[in-house]
Subunit: 527 residues, 2 copies
């Protein structure tokens, strides 16, 4: 049978073609993330605004096609939000003096993206292509805490995630199993199926033979099992009412976020800081990159684009054939331009997330040594929202944890504080969970993204209305200016958005210049 | 306030003393895993049978106290079940010729323990003390598959774990929420609390405003979201009846094992193979270790113990003051001794798990490149039971996955096969899930623990009866012979069992020799 015959036959077998083709090694010819656009282009100059991941990826891919690029980046560093704070890192918030981090060498935290979902194939593709090693980001940790400050019977107690997960699972399955015993709930279920479901509920909830939830080793031990005559001791579950009244079934705590597609394990991070991805890209585009170049005006002209920018030497004007603008919308909103009114309105209208993080350096990894928490997240109902434990240097000496990572109103209030007061807040609230803060704390560095110059927001946060009515205006070029970045995707807040958007815009721009019909992605990407 | 006053006051505040003491740094003086027994002992010779983790740890800790130890290890390598298979590894199964692994350099799989729970503090303590770096073992992966061979409507389909998890969660919460709408199920719940529970169920299950479970992004996309006009496509959930009829709610699949205390994330492994722990210990006890020394007789004498063993030079007899026997019970059962009848009966009676693994080397990490599976476990209802994907070298070139890891009857049948037939089975069943096996497979190595000379079993598997009636006999020394190993703990199958047992027996032996009262552990260990 020829390859052609085979493919013809396979096409008829819905769902069967893929394994069959794999078996013949046919799918290897076109790796999922090849981006082999046809046609090389010489003598075209593309000006790219912003040296974050989207900007640098655009330049990197365009250079492969023969284009000459200039990336204008306002800061003295590339990478944008893909940024790890380590000794010597500086940040400028709009209402504050410049801040410099003084962490110990080798320690860092990711101020921006800190997690790569395993299905963000393009992010992993670039890690591989750019030789950036990755390691697991341990997003799920049953040993971390829920901490309800001043609420209910479990107020101010460190309750392990595993206790809450297993208690709630137990109570809910018990309720449902009881009900099902009294009659088939679901008309679609046969009696036999209903019995299967009850069996499942018993296993799922860890119920006893009477279908009651009682003490369970799943929620941990009050005394650990060991050698000899030490079987371990299990304590009683929390009462359901106590869990409810302390708010541990509220969204503050009960972490349905863990179920989100993007936050499901396996998750990754770049070894040595997420900005290793940006640094690797930077090496590839170093010749195109102008640091300290702040864009002041964007003009579509009759034959191209003119970009005005200022740097340490003064004002400059630069002409290009096309432009890719990756500036965050709140920043772009303050830059002179001659965009159409639809585009201008969209730029002004689309909201960005208020969000901030603080990194706290401790002289001892007490969360590991005393609390046995290795990575993962403690959830609180207070201003901290979350404490992130580092997913690197396990069993090491010192460490930086993220003392708060908050959003919206909480992030707004935290953002208003001075650096010193943010530190004070993080320590005061954090020591309720970890009294070790008092003796082990060394130094902090905080970033409020909506306050940070050249960002003015965490990421685009679309309302249904904005997605429907404003977003489409930015998907087409305005004259010769294309818009790219996570904000022009359905992957907001993720590095994958920057990569996908860059490729999408590079494909569109290249198609226009070479007068080809190019569809990006070539095939519908599989989820 | 003096330290003494402070402690006096703190003691009265139940639960409040710990944070207060932490705040004063008082708890740091005694780290959780200090094992500082008092009194040094010179001129005492302890013979340790078995150079696995329990035996080597015993020698390591005894040497700190001044004892002279001899470890007799039958194999030409130490470490016992803490063993990683790499190029040149050999194994002897009772009914087969010696087997040698021919994997590529740098690739390995852990034939024995492959996971360290984050709460196995003593295992992590030894990793730290012995400078063995650890990395996350990614036990939970929502992107792996359930694969029901020949069963029901989802038969022979690769169903992502996330699909099943989220579909079942959706259907179960929908059923319970519906029922609760019709009246309060639980007399203990107030109306307000019941409403809270319904709100929780909606969030937990991803139900819509009518409390119905419909399509959900949590279960993944049929077309991934991307840049521009690509919001992604979500497919319909599996029907509950289909999930039931394919057995995906049966224990084969629906992985309540993930909820087990010992299998909850965070989990770890030693970087470079779990046997790095054994190798690090081996360095510490190298002077005491006799490899290739097979014990043939254990005799309690009037003043000590006499151990007979054979090695390449012939038969030997060795006298010691005391003995610690860490040999697995099925092995010990075949060694001459003058133990009491209670001890002999226990040794013969206690069951060991039948279990086996096969490592398959592939020339390409297709599970990552094609299937986007990074670590974790695919569950099947066939002889494979599980496929384990490696938690190291992510994005690397080649890799070894564990093609089956099975137990009991399945392991018994697999164990009976020749090495070639085990490979054939792993490939035939595995290619149903991963057709890439056909083109990418290179070589295999399999270990059947119950067939492996000097082990004859995976780990002690206690019935309630054996735990109650046989186990206690082995917790006391028989004359001057102490018994140690995972089988003498409530941590069966875990390396922590070996460590805990070794310490427990070292403490007991040292107490007897120095006539001290020593309780191990010093305080009840916290769970």
């Amino acid at each position: 049978m020829s390859r052609r015959d085979f493919l013809g036959k396979s096409a008829m077998l819905a769902g069967g073609a893929y394994p069959a083709m794999m078996a013949l090694g046919m799918l290897r010819a076109a790796p999922a993330h090849a981006f082999n656009l046809e046609g090389r282009v010489a003598g075209k100059h593309i000006i790219i605004l912003g040296g974050g991941l989207a900007g640098m990826t655009s330049a990197y891919e365009l250079a492969k096609l023969g284009y000459t690029c200039t990336i204008l980046e306002a800061r003295q560093r590339a990478g944008g939000r893909c940024w790890s704070i380590r000794n010597g890192s500086t940040n400028t918030e709009t209402d504050k003096p410049i801040a410099t981090a003084h962490f110990d060498d080798g320690l860092y935290f990711n101020a921006g993206p800190s997690r790569i979902p395993h299905h963000h194939q393009l992010t992993l593709h670039y890690c591989k292509e750019l030789n950036v090693p990755i390691q697991v980001y341990n997003n799920v940790n049953e040993g971390a805490y829920y901490f309800a400050e001043g609420k209910g019977p479990l107020s101010n107690k460190k309750v392990r995630v595993r206790e809450v997960h297993n208690d709630i699972r137990g109570y809910m399955t018990e309720m449902l199993a009881k009900t099902m015993d009294h009659g088939n709930l679901d008309a679609a279920l046969t009696k036999e199926d209903a019995e299967k479901v009850i069996e499942y509920l018993r296993a799922e909830g860890g119920l006893d033979t009477d279908k009651l939830y009682k003490a369970s080793a799943r929620r941990g031990y009050s005394e650990a099992p060991g050698a000899g005559d030490r079987p371990g001791k299990i304590s009683d579950p929390h009462k359901l009412a106590d869990i409810i009244h302390s708010g541990l079934m509220d969204p503050d705590f009960y972490n349905v976020a863990e179920y989100t597609y993007e936050l499901q394990m396996t998750m990754f991070q770049a070894v040595g800081g997420m900005d290793q991805i940006a640094k690797a890209l930077e090496k590839k585009v170093a010749q195109s990159l102008k640091l300290g170049a702040e864009v002041t005006k964007i003009t579509n002209t009759a034959n191209g684009v003119t970009i005005e920018y200022k740097d340490a030497q003064g004002m400059h004007s630069l002409n290009g054939d096309m432009c890719i603008c990756t500036l965050p919308l709140p920043v772009l909103s303050n830059i002179n331009n001659n965009f159409s009114s639809d585009v201008s309105r969209a730029i002004d209208y689309i909201d960005y997330m208020k969000t901030g993080k603080i990194g706290l350096q401790f002289k001892r990894r007490f969360w590991e040594e005393d609390d046995h928490i290795y990575g993962g997240i403690t959830h609180t109902n207070n201003e901290l929202t979350q404490i992130f434990y580092p997913s690197y240097d396990y069993l090491g000496k010192k460490g930086i944890l993220i003392g708060y990572y908050n959003f919206n109103d909480k992030a707004k209030r935290t953002g208003e504080l001075s650096y010193a007061d943010r530190e004070k807040l993080a320590l005061e609230k954090g020591r309720l969970v970890h009294p070790q803060y008092d003796t082990e704390f060394e130094k902090s560095f905080s970033v409020s993204w909506h306050k940070t110059k050249y960002n003015l927001g965490g990421w685009a946060e679309y309302t249904t209305d904005a997605r429907k009515n404003q977003y489409p205006a930015l998907l087409k070029p305005d004259g010769r200016v294309y818009f790219a970045g996570e904000h022009l995707t359905y992957l907001n807040a993720w590095m994958a958005g920057a990569f996908e958007s860059a490729r999408s815009v590079v494909a569109a721009l290249h198609a226009r210049i070479t007068e080809q019909r190019i569809k990006y992605p070539a095939q519908g990407a599989k989820g």
